[in-house]
């Protein structure tokens, strides 16, 4: 793969709580170039934990270890808090799940986008505002001037998510981590938001890590899929070959959702095999 942006080798994350150690992520390795990489799994499988570790967003009781955790030529494990501040938002940014909770409720959405720019570039407020307006237009908001001065409760879910995408793209990052960016949206809006994100990352050569539990969605959207179960990667596969996935867990996830015109009387549920943990 040309120009690897991110390299992760044997990532281990554990949380200590009242003397107990919980291993949330074990031996996760992957690399990311200019592509769309999906991390898929059930809740609690550690997919978001991996995403957060790249930005070192974990609380103090977390221990992150890895043989390699390289972003370009920066070793994220050894990076100081100051270096991390330059990376967070500026070079790696994160789109959260729910625009309702992730936007500041008492600040105009446009100002929030401008703030993201001001945080990383030394420019005047006026220029940042103009940038924000251009960005709003880029995420296909029809009347950017009007929307700029709305508060988060005044915009719809799809619009809120577009605002968040604008906010994450305005500092021109190299990698975007999207943590279930569309699971709070309904199907028709979901498609618009995903297509938009797709266009924008192709345009500016961004690497995308797409965290989701929806294999159907991911298979059409991403290039490569990492399937996680109980903190481990059980399968890494090209999205187009997902149909031939051989791990029973991946197969189970593929078969679980009902499809339109489903004639199965019972939906298959996952039979979890303890031996998956030792492979």
């Amino acid at each position: 793969m040309q120009n690897t942006k991110l390299e992760v080798k044997n990532l281990q994350i554990s949380f200590s709580h009242e003397g107990n150690q919980v291993n949330a992520v074990r031996d996760v390795s992957f690399s990311l170039g200019q592509e769309k990489l999906a991390i898929v799994g059930e809740s609690g499988s550690g997919k978001s934990t991996v995403g957060r570790s790249l930005l070192k967003l974990h609380p103090k009781n977390a221990t992150v270890e890895a043989e390699k955790l390289l972003f370009g030529d920066i070793d994220l494990l050894k990076a100081s808090e100051k270096t991390m501040r330059d990376i967070r938002g500026r070079r790696i940014s994160m789109i959260m799940q729910d625009p309702k909770y992730s936007l500041n409720p008492v600040m105009k959405v446009g100002d929030q986008i401008a703030e993201a720019y001001l945080a990383h570039y030394k420019v005047s407020k006026k220029i940042a505002q103009e940038k924000a307006l251009v960005m709003l237009e880029k995420v296909q908001i029809r009347d950017p001037k009007r929307v700029y001065s709305l508060y988060p409760h005044e915009v719809s879910g799809g619009m809120g998510q577009r605002v968040m995408i604008a906010m994450m793209l305005i500092p021109e990052p190299e990698i975007i981590i999207a943590d279930e960016p569309t699971s709070a949206l309904d199907v028709s809006v979901q498609r618009q938001v995903l297509n938009l994100l797709d266009e924008l990352i192709n345009e500016s050569n961004i690497g995308l890590i797409f965290i989701s539990h929806d294999l159907d969605l991911v298979r059409n959207y991403c290039d490569r899929v990492l399937v996680m179960y109980a903190g481990r990667v059980v399968e890494s596969i090209k999205a187009s070959e997902l149909e031939n996935a051989h791990h029973p867990y991946t197969q189970g996830l593929l078969k679980a959702p009902p499809r339109i015109g489903d004639i199965r009387h019972r939906l298959p549920t996952l039979e979890r095999d303890p031996s998956w943990l030792y492979n």
Binding site: S188, Q192, P258, I260
Partner: protein, 260 residues
Amino acid sequence: MNMINIEGLNLSFGSGSNESKILHDVNIQVKAGESFGLVGESGSGKTTVLRCLAGQYHHWSGQLSVNGNSLQHKLDKKRCIDMQMVFQDPYGSLHPRHSIETALAEPLKIHKMDNKDQRISSILKKVGLDDSFRYRSPHQLSGGQRQRVAIARALILEPQILLLDEPTSALDVSVQAEILNLLKELKEKEGLTYLMVTHDLGVVTYLCDRVAVMQNGHIVETISSSDLANHGASEPYTKMLLDCCYHTEARLNDTTSFAN
């Protein structure tokens, strides 16, 4: 006879120049033992229809009747026994400091029903949990287990109708499959009537016999699930929704987004 009969249901919020109409002449007929789906995007008014039926809104106009009895604007106990609701988010719909037993005993207490202990135990079994869950708090349960408790709480009064408001959209696909199987099983065993709101057309065709598609407070089309699956939809809006769902099942070809 229709189990649920909704005729000319209208609802608006605000008054004067601020009045905004949410439901426009909604008509739905659901037969006994049928499961009926309401689909549409957020804001189309599908949950509002359920809320009118459940008695959470009082100022609707039109005719609502359940099991042959027409509904008054005020909520009475009879309606609760006929009809119970299961909410979308199992994390928000259970009281965080009430044990599962307290949560399940409350409807029994309100309706002065006997044999509390036995009823709780049998309803837990029915939804696939056991007595060991009784003294746990919601935070000790997984999302799927919580949704089972929410279904148990709705069923403990032995209603004939369940109103399901996106019962699986907060759950993972594998857990969603478990809950959908449970709902299907319960319906067959108990002869329940379902009115389900969802935006997932896969879920709706799996569980429901007929579907009404809502947009901006209007019902644009009522169609059987098999027709829906076999491309029998005639309204462009329904076709658009179908298109969005199929797109996640087939390879995405065009990157053009359409206007909202």
